[in-house]
Symmetry: C2
Subunit: 421 residues, 2 copies
Amino acid sequence: MSKPNAFYAQSGGVTAVINTSACGLIETARQHKDKIGKIYAGRNGIIGALTEELIDTSKESKRDIAALRHTPGGAFGSCRHKLKGLDENRAEYERLIDVFKAHNIRYFFYNGGGDSQDTSYKVSQIAQTLGYPLSCIGIPKTVDNDLPIIDNCPGFGSVAKYVAVSIREAAFDVASMAKTSTKIFVLEVMGRHAGWIAAAGGLACEKKGDAPHIILFPEIIFDETKFLKRVEQSVKKHGYCVIVVSEGLKNKAGKFLAEAGGRDAFGHAQLGGVAPIIAQLCKDKLGHKYHWAVADYLQRSARHIASKTDVDQAYALGKAAVKLALKGQNAVMPIIERKSNKPYRWGIGVAKLADVANVEKMMPRSYISRNGFAITDACREYLQPLIAGEDYPPYKKGLPQYVVLKNIAVPKKLKKRFVVG
Amino acid sequence: MSKPNAFYAQSGGVTAVINTSACGLIETARQHKDKIGKIYAGRNGIIGALTEELIDTSKESKRDIAALRHTPGGAFGSCRHKLKGLDENRAEYERLIDVFKAHNIRYFFYNGGGDSQDTSYKVSQIAQTLGYPLSCIGIPKTVDNDLPIIDNCPGFGSVAKYVAVSIREAAFDVASMAKTSTKIFVLEVMGRHAGWIAAAGGLACEKKGDAPHIILFPEIIFDETKFLKRVEQSVKKHGYCVIVVSEGLKNKAGKFLAEAGGRDAFGHAQLGGVAPIIAQLCKDKLGHKYHWAVADYLQRSARHIASKTDVDQAYALGKAAVKLALKGQNAVMPIIERKSNKPYRWGIGVAKLADVANVEKMMPRSYISRNGFAITDACREYLQPLIAGEDYPPYKKGLPQYVVLKNIAVPKKLKKRFVVG
């Protein structure tokens, strides 16, 4: 019988470094050809497994796989498709096992956030129930930094760096313009429920008076009066006011200030557009000229300004996932453990998927200042190492050189077609 | 009598490299202490000259002046204050001359765009009229790339690089998500009347199918039907559609699609927010999930991804301005001249301020594809060298290290205070 193969898929919102984990995983697996046959990737995440649309990564050159390390986005396609509970949709789970059996897949690597690790966990359960030997290993990923147990999530450090760098740069611009023109600058950042990304903007403030002058966290109910008072204080003192606002900012009624209306496949509201609301408020109530920016996908795809810490960790996690699988582990996820702050040292540990699935790590209240508009020293100490170091991609003709893989399909073996509901 | 002093001011919207020109100017002037005494900078641009709020740059260390080379924004403060015609507001011009006389200023360097070079020109005229010996030298700057005669404007190359890099990165993200989620991504960029910045997004497309799939130029009247048809074509063919839209996009009635209502001191409409309009249109008419981003100030302050060509040229222009002044030139502006495309070679020439003032250089129609949604090869050939090369700032703790100058005031000499109207 041929060597068992591995399946790898990317899930949910992609990041600047999810491909870095893929790179770590594939490069490491290729070093263990005695134990792992081929590495198949799911085309568009778990959907690729359900529809038997597998990509044969062995067709990719060593050079192209290496280039994944510095390529943003999800090289094999990702998806927002949450598998329902085992009882509700057993057919999907059984189909996965059928596909794995057909392609002799014994290793299941799932690279995603909390929702995705719930899937990984359920896949490991169904495999056990059906008596199919499968090593299920989750690989953490999410710009939201909201996975439990793990010290920080790969993908987050690079967004954090992008936001901190961008807010510092924009602040230099606004400071120059404030005398006769723009006095208010608002940058909207991601983070539905947890203010980790907004908090990262606070890193740009290294001494009193530095921007951002106000951070609006999703954790803190928006208080218009208190906010406007603080804006005015900043304008009086510094001549301008730079604001970071989380897309997840809520009012007293618990409603998002910017509810775009749509909902994604996970049932999450699609947000965007709180920055212009906050900016306009400053104009209407205080009369100040404003500018605002919405970073949206730019922040999570900004591989050009990725954090070296983030890149190193993302790679290490992909590598660790293979090592865990080779040790016969199941239903686990490699995690980043912080060993010390000064100097920053980290290592790789292991968490059980059962403990990770569907648990959201909120930002501790102690990371937000008492007035609710800034980060604390404890938060800074936590965040700072995560944006440390630069890891520039190669450039040609002024543009970063990212790889597009060949993504050659593995011939289908099952007669039954499967339609994803 | 002491050596004549120089005055330098930054005007209008700042850029990632206007300080680079200041650096070139100050470093060069410091090498000519036999001819140039002190370099005074206007605090908040020309307003600093009117109110006699001068900054003594000789108080800044060599190291801090060198750091201007990699610091975005306007280190001395800029302003949006257009001097009226000589006949309308002679008092302002005479006040300038009074301040220059009081501080023995014989060199006037004005770093700005078209409006600002109009001011430079008028200052040279009034000096002549009043018989005051003043060497007036303009230094070009504008992200809009709309100055005449000069091949390209410093500040533009770095915005162009930012936009091209960002759209490429976001496209990698959208491509990964398109199967089950986001199919439309819209990036709004600056450029009121000329589509230079929007065109720069087109550089990310190096082969057929690459993003951006659609560019919406201010030069091309927005045709909803034609646009939606093209979006649908792109979604069908590639699975997604990436769009760059200029803030200056207009409808058939000649109205900006996103008119924010406000107007700046130059009487220009304050724009922003066409991206969500375009995105929503794709949702309403075609049913696709979208994401959008508005880069706003992030694009023009993004020193972290500045173009090396741009940095080198901005520095050279600051340097050239001093050389022109030392040669006794007046009412001129150093310009960038393109010597060849392959390899790209450039040099410094000279233009008369009279020919530069208030003339807008539009993008040639031949730079936009016949269908109006892309750039042509001629455009690519023009733009590509301008984004070439990287020039990274130094980092500490994960953040770029930008300088904040001491900006020590020169003691006032005039009894009369001047209130800027």
